[in-house]
Every structure is written in structure tokens, then in C-alpha cells.
């Protein structure tokens, strides 16, 4: 199979890899550059746990052709914390017990970040809408919704960007 060079920015640092024709972004992130934070749930766009931000917009990395991210900025959960400081969303998820098995958490965090970046004062309905493509089997969603609303209120959110 043909292999092509691909360059993109992952959480602020430059990455250069070879990708195969038709290889999806999730695979490139996990196997190509070793970022295991985006998870493989269904591989067909139905669960949301592979969500990453491409230039700030949430995308399902399992359905994204890797070659389409040439030169673009990818954000994964690995890029949320700043050193030892958790991102306000991560902290709110912890404080609200918004994860049990944690499998949905990376996708939830990034769907939430995309929401709060464009709408710092979301209503409960806005939050529900933002995570409606993300399946959680464990928490019953309520703690996740509460966590996102709490993170929106926390003053630290803006500085983290």
C-alpha cells in the first residue's frame, strides 16, 4: 500500500509520520504517534470516545481520513493539562465523579472543551446537545453534565484556553 508523509501539530508539537492510504486519524494518533488518549469504541462514528479537536472543532477521529489533517492543529486529552495542573474540565470531572470506567471520558472532555471555547456560559440544554454524540455506559450522564457546567463557572477556564 502506498505510504505518504503527513505533518500536523499535536497538542502544540509538530509531528511527522508516514500514513497509509485510507488510514484514519485515530489509528495514526494511537499507533503512529503513540497518543493513546483518544479511544477506539465503535470505529464507525456512533460512540464519540475517539473525539479530538481539529483546529478547535470536535471531530470523530475514527471517521477522519488522516491525510486531511495536513498542517492542522489536533488537540487530544493528552494536551489538556498544563504540567501538573489539570485542565478545569478535568478537575470538574474529578470533583463531580463524572467517570467510572473512564472509557468515554476523553471524548466527553473534548466535546465539552469545544463547547466551552465557543460558548463560555452554556445552559444545561447546550451541554446536553454538545455531548449528545458521546455514549457513556456508566455514569448516567448527570455527573458529566454537572461537571461541564461547573467547569464553565470556574474562573480558571479562560486562562487554560
Amino acid at each position: 500500500m502506498a505510504r505518504k508523509p503527513l505533518q500536523f501539530h499535536l497538542n502544540g508539537s509538530e509531528k511527522a509520520v508516514f500514513v497509509e492510504d485510507g488510514q484514519n486519524l485515530l489509528d495514526v494518533l494511537r499507533r503512529g504517534v503513540g497518543d493513546l488518549t483518544p479511544k477506539y469504541g465503535c470505529g464507525q462514528g456512533a460512540c464519540g470516545t475517539c473525539t479530538v479537536l481539529i483546529d478547535g472543532e470536535p471531530h470523530l477521529s475514527c471517521l477522519t481520513l488522516a491525510e486531511t489533517v495536513e498542517g492542522r492543529q489536533i488537540t487530544t486529552t493528552a494536551g489538556l493539562a498544563q504540567g501538573a495542573d489539570l485542565h478545569p474540565l478535568q478537575k470538574a470531572f474529578m470533583d463531580n465523579f463524572a467517570a467510572q470506567c473512564g472509557y468515554c471520558t476523553p471524548g466527553m472532555l473534548l466535546a465539552a472543551k469545544a463547547l466551552l471555547d465557543r460558548n463560555p456560559n452554556p445552559s444545561r440544554e447546550d451541554v446536553v446537545e454538545a455531548i449528545s454524540g458521546n455514549i457513556c455506559r456508566c455514569t448516567g450522564y448527570e455527573p458529566i453534565i454537572d461537571a461541564i457546567l461547573e467547569a464553565a463557572k470556574s474562573r480558571g477556564f479562560r486562562q487554560f484556553g
Binding site: C42, Q44, A46, C47, F97, A99, Q100, C101, G102, V127, V128, E129, I131, S132, I135, C136, R137, C138, T139, G140, Y141, E142, P143, I144, I145
Partner: protein, 340 residues
Amino acid sequence: MALHRGRGFAAINYPIGMNLGGDPSQALVHSNPGGKFMVALSSIDLGQGMKSVTRQIAAETLGVPVEDVYVDTADSDTGPHCMGSFASRGTHRVGNAVIEAAKEARSVMLEAAAEELEVDPADLVTDGKGNIHVKGAPSRSISTAEACGAAQFKQGRTVSGRGIFLIPLSEVDPETGEQTPVSCFAHAAMIVDVEVDDETGEVSVLEMNSAYELGRALNPRLVEQQLVGGAWMGMSHAAWETTEPYYPDRDHGPIDFNGYLMPGPGDIAKHNIAILERPAPDGPYGGKGPGEMCANPVLPAVVNAVFNAVGVRIDELPVTPEKVLRGIRANGGAQPQGRR
């Protein structure tokens, strides 16, 4: 064509663990020379909090800070045997095994400390902050790290302990048929309010009110988390999830998350929970554990609420709109049962 409200009730008496051959679990505890403790288990944490709870139990029994305890559930090839994380048995069975193992490790740690302090181990107490001292004389003390280090570098002792929890198999009495399959029961009661649309057959769960008695809540926030998430799953089993929603052909069944229905974040119901703590005599620090019981009462309560709302008695789960509509049609229309 109208929306009908209904209220349903369910109560459960829930057995913790099972007794098919004793239902055993084991734990091994040891300290490293720096006085940090490792709890080795084969019991898996699926997100229910097994690691957090066994860590607390080990720290409490050892008399050391919770930060000084690690729990390793990595591998059933290298860890001591466990029956598994099912039957709501984790906290109770594994917790008891951890207590036994931690007690043995603690007694070695105290013997090592006693040798260093030249006192009787029976006179020593732990402060839970990383120190061991003579009862009534806090100045005669040694840190748990020093005691564990001395044991392993001077005295030639392993600071370790083994634990197993096993309820002997209860045979059936051939005369009476009597048996004691379970030693520990948790309890719950739940009231569910639903709304049923008699035109579409759709059932919405509006509110759940529940009371759970599950022994001592060893980690109250984890208990609450399980009850919230478990009730969602119960609601999902009651009114959404099935691998066989259509008939008569299996090929029309769901093959992915697009067809396998579950309530999403917009479908959740308000859930008020009261937790009653009645410590179990044979539970670790009185704990029983919420487990599968989080989901169970929701199903019968929803079914009862649907009957109360429109007079349709569903006897096969889930409560799909189709079953509700067929029931309503068979009854010649919705028959609200009224509030009792």
C-alpha cells in the same frame, strides 16, 4: 390522545455474592522497604471503585495513611485468586480478604517496630499518619517506614500478609430443603414516575425516588456515583435496550450503537437518593456494596408505573412503544388506574 402519568413501586432484598462453592477471594499485602504497602488482587476494577475501596480498607486495617497504599489488580496470572467482579461481591468478599491480609502484615510491622523500640508489640499503636508509638507514650515512636525498613534490612522479616474470604459451601438439608445460600443482604425501595403517550406508546421516566440500605457506605461518593449511573442503566433496560426489538426476523435487530437504543444525556430522569447505613455484621467495616442492585429495582418499578398510567401490564422487557400500544388496543383504550 393524551399523556398519562403513572407511579410504580418496587422493593428488593438483594443477596451480596453467591455461594456456589464458597465464593472465595484472596488478597496479598506486603510493604516495600520504604514502608509503602502493596495490595495484590486479581479482582478487577471496572470503574465501580474496587481499587479505591480496597485501598481504604487496607490503610484502615494497617493503620497507615491511604496515600501509602497501592492496589495492584493487574493480572490474574500473577495475583492471588479471586472469583471475579460480579454478583455485587467485590466490596464484601475482597474487602474481607484484604482485612485479613492487612492484619497479618500489620502484626509483622508492629513486631519489627517493637524490636527496634525494645518494647512489647502488644503495647504499640498506630496513629494512621505513618507513626507507631507506645500506647500512652507518644514520644517513644518509630515511623512505619523505619519499622518496615528495619524489618527488611536488619531483622530479616517480610512485612506481609495473606488473606482469603470464604463462606463454607452451604449444603441443602435433604429433609427440609433448607439452605443458607447467602450471608448478607442489601435492600432497596424505589418509586418511579412515568408519563405514557397513548398515541405513540412512548414511555418517559420523569423521576425516580429511591432508598438504598447497603451496609456502611465505605466511600459515600462512590456509592452515590454507582447508584446514579446504575439507575440510568436500569431505566435503559426497562424501556430501551434490547437485541430483539423487531419481529419476526432477527436480521432486523440492531448491530451497532445506532440501532441499539439507550437513553442519551437528554433523556435522563431526576433521581433523589437516600442512603441508609446499617453495617453488615460480616462485612468489611460493615460494608455490603451497591453492585448490580443499583439497576434492578428500576425495571419492575417502571413496569408497575406503566400499568398505573394506562392499565397495561407488560410482562416482557423492555417496555417498547409497540408493546404499550398493543396493550392499550387490547384493553379498548388507556385505562388509568389512578393514584393510591
